[in-house]
């Protein structure tokens, strides 16, 4: 069973006046089949955790370990992490002009699966996944994220999640900017992947709204660059009522 283990992770970014520490000792274990919600105020370091796990060059790991089934993730390049089974659904997916969605998906699936998917089954697979996410087939011929609405970008991220079948899925504020319909469609997509039982999900969010659609097994409150409190789904209800104030005043926001 795939397990992502984060131990005492410290991460800095380069700021104007030297490096600034953002993650200050994160400990977290995510197992296949589990869903962990990471909640916290703006600037608490949630997104930094997501991007550090994916290997974004902006973030410098200054301490700690991250392993996937015992393999050292921190030593892997960005593409190696993806091929090892780490997937990051981004909050702000970037435009890639000149590259069509269909070309991108196939190139990506070929890289992650280690061989080119058979054309006939692949076309069906993509078509089916797109239908389930209520995406227009014409979408496949558009350039990656170019001119996409906020909702289209998020559906496209979840489409990739469905096709790439990662071991660990990190969803960085996938709910942000979505109206109720889009949130439901995107959440259903995430749930389809979760129901396979083959993915460990790290759901990063500011709001509890998405947790009405995606039920977490664990909720962690992120504050001041580390996990301040962990609990079950009931912790989200408490946050819904009381907000993050208690955590912010305790530790101070790093932003």
């Amino acid at each position: 069973m795939a397990t992502l283990e984060i131990h005492d992770l410290h991460v800095s970014v380069e700021a104007e006046n030297g490096p600034r520490e953002i993650l200050r000792g994160v400990d977290l274990t995510v197992k296949q089949g589990e869903t962990h919600a990471i909640m916290g105020p703006n600037g608490s370091g949630k997104s930094t955790l997501a991007y550090s796990l994916a290997g974004h060059p902006k973030y410098t790991i200054t301490g700690g370990t991250v392993t996937l089934d015992g393999e050292n993730v921190l030593e892997m390049s960005v593409d190696e992490r993806a091929r090892a089974g780490v997937f990051l659904a981004m909050q702000y997916p970037v435009e890639v002009p000149g590259v069509s969605v269909s070309n991108f998906l196939r190139t990506s699936a070929t890289a992650v699966r280690g061989e080119a998917p058979k054309l006939r089954t692949w076309v069906k697979e993509v078509k089916g996944a797109m239908e389930r996410l209520q995406m227009d087939p014409a979408f496949a011929e558009r350039n990656v994220n170019e001119g996409f609405s906020g909702g289209e970008k998020k559906r496209h991220e979840i489409l990739q999640l469905e096709l790439l079948k990662p071991k660990i899925a990190i969803l960085d504020e996938t709910d942000s900017g979505l109206d109720v319909d889009a949130l439901r469609i995107v959440s259903e997509g995430v749930n389809r992947v979760r129901e396979t039982g083959e993915v460990g999900t790290l759901l990063i969010t500011h709001y509890t709204r998405i947790l009405r659609y995606i039920k977490p097994d664990f909720v962690h409150v992120f504050a001041n660059g580390r996990i301040a409190e962990s609990g079950g789904a009931e912790l989200a209800d408490k946050l819904e009522e009381e907000g993050y104030e208690a955590y912010v005043t305790k530790g101070g926001v790093t932003a």
């Binding site: 993806a82 970037v94 890639v96 000149g98 991108f104 990506s108």
Partner: protein
Amino acid sequence: MADNTPAGSTTDGAIQVGGPKQPIDARVSAPASYDVADFPVPHGREEEWRFTPLERLRGLHDGTAVATGAGVKVEVEAPEGVTVETVGRDDARLGKAGKPVDRVAAQAYSSFEKASVVSIPKETQLTEPVRISVHGEGGVAFGHQVVEVGAFSEAVVVLDHTGDATLAANVEYLLGDGAKLTVVSVQDWDASAVHAAQHTALVGRDASFKSVIVTFGGDLVRLHPRVVYGAPGGEAELYGLYFTDRGQHQEHRLFVDHDTPHCRSNVAYKGALQGKDAHAVWIGDVLIRAEAEGTDTYELNRNLVLTDGARVDSVPNLEIETGEIVGAGHASATGRFEDEQLFYLMARGIPADEARRLVVRGFFAELVQQIGLPDVEERLLAKIEAELGASVA
């Protein structure tokens, strides 16, 4: 991409409507002429020379370049029905498309000894392309080429430049009424070649001219693709691709002269740049004269900067002297292949070099399709691969 202009590039286009305060023709330092003596020697400050490193023109601009025996070897491979002739300077078919517009083109016109004329008779549909190979043998050469397509004929011509040379040339395309001509000009020179040329098309009534300029090689390439219309109803599509590598200067200066009613033009040039001192220049001048009612024109230039140290100058100019037109527009943008794009693709498992290939191939795809000749397309894609491979190494 449009709002992401790297340091060291310009995209200062202009649309001028109404009476021309400074018409395109007046911005040049001398009016067009067949005689080199009518042009002053450029010094680099002139509008039409300000982007060009004159010291790398090997004397083509100041009269010091003299033709040598081993200049270029020209071979023409033509399907049946096509006439291929070598003619003297006095042949009546030379110079019909228009006068040379700068000193180097005039130098070529004043200096060539023999010209090549390829004629496709009227009402002929060629099933195979005419292939004109210009192979540099290391010397200095002045060339003149005419391609004449008779009324209602259809032809594809490939002009293929390889080897090493210092070449100044004029190429004329004469399209009869209703003729359709596609020209693919490939600049696949060795790294040391210098090539300056004017390609002028005279488009007849209801005729269609399509040009695809593909520039990869050379130390310095400076081309003037130009279109003039002889009668109403003409149509011109001007496409271009360039891949400007370290130290290379590649300059494309287009001019579409809408002086005739009810003609169309569409321009799309795309370039990728990589390496220190790679310099691409794109000038797109479109003039819609007062008498050219019913004109429809659009021009576009896109540049993709792959590494630091490259420079793009992209200047579209549209001048409109009549309001009675169908449409006119231009667009120019220079973008960087960014770290964020690379990260996004790599985060989906795609290795860095493959990600770069994916983006560059995608960038050029729509223009590569315009070539329509599988062998040229494949060669082009192979070149792109090789250039990208060189950047990773």
